[in-house]
């Protein structure tokens, strides 16, 4: 092996390692962004759900003016969750406590919406109205979208965490401070329980 050959080999190895480092770093950055993006999508979908509420409340009010209690309940739950969807998505991505609060706010909103729907079921004219049915579809749809977005956020976090622990990205992760992200995973029962049975 002459001197030039050794140089070529050393040079190739160096280029290879630099390439590997660059790709690892870029991959971690984009996965990190991906987790924040996925949580922001959860917020977008919850917001979309929250924005539908006035429409539903007004529709039900048209038929059931005197059911004050349930309207107040929905309005309160709505105010609470409106705060939660304003949080910065990257803060949400890194803080399981905030995730838990968001999920609980969403569950209490679902519960109060469930009672509103149950009240509405007592008014046959309302129940049969095309507008009310379409709204029920929209609510069922947004609920599903929130669930899908949450599932994807958890998956994105798991993928990111896996990268911070597997070779070769783990070296780059520890060098540049990409930390493991904790996340809040709802118990299976709470996730699948049909709190509101829309679309029947």
């Amino acid at each position: 092996m002459g001197k030039p050959t050794v140089l070529w080999i050393v040079g190739s190895v160096a280029v290879f390692l630099i390439m590997l480092g660059v790709v690892s770093y870029n991959g971690l950055v984009s996965q990190d962004e991906g987790v924040s993006g996925a949580w922001s999508e959860v917020q977008v979908q919850i917001k979309r759900r929250v924005d539908l509420i006035p429409n539903l409340v007004n529709t039900v009010k048209g038929y059931a003016e005197h059911e004050r209690g349930v309207f107040n309940e929905v309005t309160e739950a709505r105010a609470k969750i409106s705060q939660a969807v304003k949080i910065d998505a990257s803060a949400l991505a890194n803080n399981p406590l905030l995730q838990k609060q968001l999920l609980e706010a969403q569950q209490s909103l679902n519960a109060s919406l469930g009672r509103l729907i149950a009240v509405a079921e007592n008014y046959p004219l309302l129940k049969a109205s095309e507008n009310f049915r379409a709204l029920q579809d929209e609510f069922a749809g947004t609920e599903n979208r929130v669930a899908v977005a949450r599932g994807r956020a958890v998956r994105a976090t798991k993928d990111y965490n896996q990268s911070t622990r597997t070779i070769p990205t783990s070296f780059v992760a520890s060098m540049f401070g990409f930390k493991h992200k904790d996340y809040y995973e709802a118990p299976e029962s709470a996730q699948n329980a049909p709190i509101v049975n829309f679309g029947k």
Binding site: W8, S12, T142
Partner: protein
């Protein structure tokens, strides 16, 4: 040395396979636009729906598929339909304009899973409305009606009418098809890459190896593939680069016939890479 190379490849294959993950249950195989695994449709309706949906895709690029299943084995239809739609990748990659219409016999549920790109023209309320008015009204086994031919035909006609009307307003949507690099182009790039590495290798074998490795790395970077592929491509590229010089010298360079094997003329149907976010409705 041989054993080392072999174990290296086994290791690489393991790394590559470890990163792919599957679904917990089997998504039905995509056989065409109409996948009537529960056998609810007459052959005539089956063919008619296939033709209607093919026309729709040719006109608007929107991909609609139909699936009937006998039993979801306890699955929730929302997550079932989403997994199927995600696996089949209905809709064009850059437009997410796919739609899955499904029905499950045992659970007696219809579901319309609407891709991101179609949520505007088919909001959940509209989707549910179509299912109730055209599907439920014709085939509702609990009420003794079972005209699934009419049910699916009605829904498909509605969806096709709505989508076509939208694309007539916005015809730019119709021109964007085939953003993928086709098979032939990849082979031409490959040939150029080998020739470049071969020239470098003529100066020095290690230079050929380096160029090959860089080409492999560049490809992985450009395609945005993960680390396992980066490593595989660098190693393979380096290997090809080391020998490319001899390949070219042996006269193989000019003689490599890159056969084209595109089957675009056939009638096969496959998803275009569209994404879904859980939009749609069931009834």
């Amino acid at each position: 040395m041989k054993r080392f190379i072999r174990s290296l490849f086994v290791a690489l294959a393991l790394v590559a396979s470890a990163t792919t993950n599957g679904f917990a249950f089997d998504v039905p195989v995509l056989h065409g636009r109409v996948n009537d695994t529960a056998g609810l449709l007459s052959p005539a309706t089956h063919d008619k729906l296939e033709a209607t949906l093919r026309d729709l895709e040719q006109k608007t690029t929107v991909q609609v598929a139909i699936l009937t299943v006998k039993d979801m084995q306890g699955q929730d239809i929302k997550s079932f339909a989403l997994k199927v739609a995600e696996t089949w990748k209905l809709g064009q990659k850059d437009k997410d304009n796919g739609l899955l219409l499904m029905y499950t016999v045992k659970e007696d549920r219809y579901r319309m899973e609407v891709g991101y790109g179609l949520e505007g023209v088919l909001p959940d309320g509209k989707a549910g409305d179509i299912l109730r008015q055209y599907a439920r009204a014709k085939a509702d086994p609990k009420k003794g009606t079972r005209d699934f031919d009419a049910a699916f035909t009605g829904v498909v006609e509605q969806v096709a009418a709505i989508v076509s009307a939208e694309y007539a307003k916005d015809p730019t949507g119709a021109s964007m098809r085939g953003t993928k690099i086709d098979g032939d182009a990849i082979w031409i790039f490959f040939a150029i890459a080998v020739v470049l590495a071969g020239f470098a290798g003529a100066v020095h074998a290690a230079l050929g190896g380096t160029v090959g490795a860089l080409e492999g790395a560049g490809l992985a970077l450009y395609m945005g593939w993960g680390i396992p592929w980066l490593i595989v491509l660098i190693v393979v590229g380096c290997g090809i680069g080391l020998v490319a010089h001899f390949l070219l010298e042996a006269g193989l360079g000019g003689g490599l016939g890159f056969g084209s094997s595109s089957d675009s003329g056939s009638d096969s149907f496959s998803g275009g890479g569209g994404s879904f976010g859980g939009g749609g409705a069931d009834a």
